[in-house]
């Protein structure tokens, strides 16, 4: 029983990591309807920037510099990619973000190098046993995962406050609800784009710190985007809480499946299981867990 909870817990914590990446997707999709495939590449790029800058400067300054880089990146993307493609269909914008993703994969490695870099921002990384009183042997968790969960929680809280309490945040929500209406009350769509892309760049940086600390900063980080996709369809493309809840469900679901069902099939099922889980879920709720209901009209 303890092991079950251990797996469940591990799954949740893995899910939090997915959710971090998914959050970036959601922010951009919600505000601009763009399915940003470059999110994974942004995570890599942000992490690479940070880890290489840290060789030159203290961590806090490197972090600030990385944030600045991500904001510049957002500006460039808005100017060179989004603005010329305004009013194009979703799939075109999606493709464009794939192009962006290729570009920054190449760009990041050209500028920052393609080795494995160890990222140490002081996150603890010791396994601890918790709840020993409840289960025999307790539950083994990694402090690192707990910290990551806390960071994710903080990030979500900050984002929630940002959306609820600030003027810009309310503007963003207005855009998400209705593009036309938002424009007509005088919110320049371009600014909105820059803001959401910057925000999601910062989210990418946070995700990059967490993933980078876990895996080392290297190319494979950009592939974690694929892990965020089932989280997205499960949680809904437009919902921040959906990303978190979806992440938890997917994380727990795939780990439990891998541990309990996997061996029967020779293992390695977690990848497709996450998608299958999301898919089955969609068959029941085509708009995802927290997505807005799709209404068909004649």
């Amino acid at each position: 029983m303890g092991f079950f909870f251990e797996v469940l817990f591990g799954g949740f914590l893995a899910g939090v990591l997915y959710a971090l990446v998914a959050l970036g997707f959601v922010l951009i999709f919600k505000a601009s309807g763009v399915f940003n495939f470059a999110q994974g590449a942004m995570v890599l790029f942000a992490a690479l920037s940070l880890v290489r800058l840290m060789e030159w400067m203290p961590i806090p300054i490197a972090m600030l510099a990385s944030v600045a880089i991500m904001i510049v990146f957002a500006l460039v993307v808005e100017r060179l990619v989004l603005r010329p493609l305004v009013n194009q269909e979703g799939i075109i914008l999606f493709m464009a973000t794939i192009g962006v993703s290729y570009f920054i994969d190449g760009f990041g490695q050209t500028v920052w190098g393609s080795d494995v870099y160890k990222l140490d921002v002081g996150l603890p990384n010791e396994p601890v046993i918790i709840l020993e009183s409840l289960f025999e042997g307790g539950i083994l968790v990694n402090q690192f995962d707990l910290v990551a969960a806390v960071i994710a929680g903080l990030l979500v809280t900050v984002l929630a406050i940002f959306f609820q309490k600030t003027r810009i945040g309310r503007a963003l929500r207005a855009v998400a609800d209705d593009h036309q209406a938002a424009q007509s009350v005088g919110i320049p769509l371009r600014d909105i784009w820059v803001i959401v892309w910057s925000t999601s760049g910062i989210v990418a940086l946070v995700a990059g710190i967490v993933w980078g600390s876990a895996l080392g900063v290297q190319f494979s980080i950009s592939l974690v985007a694929l892990k965020a996709l089932p989280v997205l369809i499960l949680g809904g493309f437009t919902s921040v809480p959906g990303a978190i809840v979806g992440g938890l469900i997917i994380g727990a679901g795939e780990k439990l499946a891998e541990v309990y069902i996997g061996p029967t099939f020779g293992g390695g099922i977690e990848n497709w299981f996450a998608y299958m889980l999301a898919l089955l879920f969609l068959l029941v709720r085509p708009q995802g867990l927290f997505g807005e209901r799709i209404i068909e009209r004649v």
Binding site: F35, L80, V81, P84, L85, Q88, E89, G90, I91, I92, F94, M95, A96, I98, G99, V100, S101, Y102, F103, I104, D105, G106, F107, Q109, T110, S114, L226, L229, P230, L232, I233, F237, F265, G266, G267, G268, I269, N271, W272, Y275, M276, A278, L279, L282, L283, P286, Q287, G288, I294, E296, V298
Partner: protein
């Protein structure tokens, strides 16, 4: 400019609905086919045939499959690589388990197997739309990748999970040189591209496009969404399956599930979008573009005598490739085929601008 259409009037509906109603297009096609069938095998190096023409043709075929689904029926799919894998492994199993089967029959059956799998994974499209469906098709991709890696029967219990195509022959004619492989692929692609064109200009194609453009209206004029979507999945997967079998048997020779991984699916989606959604020509243009640009980028520095490190070249290739995708989307979001259509329109009206 090159189009001289005066006097090419149509006296039957058959002529009017021909694939190439304009004579110059027919000539152009004939020239292209002549080059493909006669000049290239005669003139081109083996490298050009095996590393450019063969993958180009197979990619184009798979892209046609994806375009039928995505461009014509409006169902975005990221699982094409998986369906190609089904074709490849089905062909492998048929070839080694039923050795007496003709290679052509094997390819058709491989396509059929892929079609069946495609139909299964197409079922969710009834409920799920747009990007949700796109992501959902990844389930097919990952599941199929996994299945071929894990289920040993598919790989005939080879210890490594990597399988190799048996020696190939058609009617006793061994397919063992680049030229022969090229001819076989070219013939298959020619026939299937024509079949695809026929499908999209007829009843089936119109029902797909109706579903794509407005599924509710389509249903109300008597198109069954289930049948239309599943037929699109089936045909699309058939093409992908045959392409997968060709890729495995005639291009790689030996392969593992990684040969049909998600990158293959993405690459094909690129081809379709860069080439032009809803255009058979676009599939060829897109395949050429996606295949050639990296090769060109890779070889240009060498050709120019700029000794860049392979890493640098490779990173630059990523950057330029990404930038070109964005650039092309901005220049013409509807792809190279639309560019060609616009150019052709201009040529037809030349010297008038419109």
């Amino acid at each position: 400019m090159l189009y001289r259409e005066a006097g090419q009037f149509k006296t039957t509906y058959g002529d009017d609905q021909a694939v190439f109603p304009i004579r110059q297009d027919r000539w152009g096609m004939a020239i292209i086919l002549a080059i493909a069938y006669v000049a290239l095998p005669w003139l081109a190096t083996d490298y050009f045939i095996t590393s450019i023409m063969i993958p180009f043709l197979i990619y184009a075929l798979a892209a046609i499959g994806l375009n039928l689904l995505t461009g014509y029926c409006g169902q975005v799919s990221l699982g094409t690589g998986g369906f190609m894998a089904v074709g490849a492994y089905a062909a492998y199993n048929l070839a080694i388990r039923v050795p007496e089967l003709n290679l052509i029959v094997i390819f058709i059956l491989a396509g059929g197997a892929a079609a069946m799998v495609g139909v299964v994974f197409g079922v969710p499209s009834l409920r799920i739309k747009g990007f949700y469906l796109a992501v959902a098709t990844l389930a097919a991709q990952f599941f199929l990748d996994w299945a071929f890696a894990r289920i040993k029967w598919f790989t005939n219990y080879t210890p490594s999970g990597s399988v190799a195509a048996p020696p190939l022959d058609i009617f006793g004619f061994a397919i063992n040189t680049p030229d022969r492989r090229y001819f076989l692929i070219l013939a298959i692609v020619t026939v299937m591209a024509l079949a695809a064109k026929n499908l999209v200009r007829g009843r089936v194609g119109r029902s797909w496009m109706a579903i794509r453009d407005m599924d509710i209206a389509a249903e109300i004029i008597g198109i069954r969404p289930l049948r239309a979507k599943l037929s699109a999945f089936a045909v699309s997967s058939f093409f992908a399956g045959v392409a997968g079998a060709l890729w495995a048997f005639l291009h790689l020779g030996a392969w593992e599930p990684l040969a049909f991984d998600i990158n293959r699916s993405f690459l094909l989606l690129f081809m379709v979008i860069i080439g032009g959604l809803g255009s058979i020509l676009g599939c060829f243009l897109g395949a050429a573009f996606i295949l050639m640009v990296p090769l060109a980028l890779n070889q240009i520095p060498t050709a120019l005598g700029m000794p860049l490190s392979t890493a640098m070249i490779s990173h630059l290739e990523f950057m330029i490739f990404g930038a070109m995708i964005v650039f092309f989307l901005i220049a013409e979001p509807h792809g190279l085929a639309r560019l060609w259509a616009l150019a052709k329109e201009k040529l037809r009206l030349w010297p008038f601008p419109h």
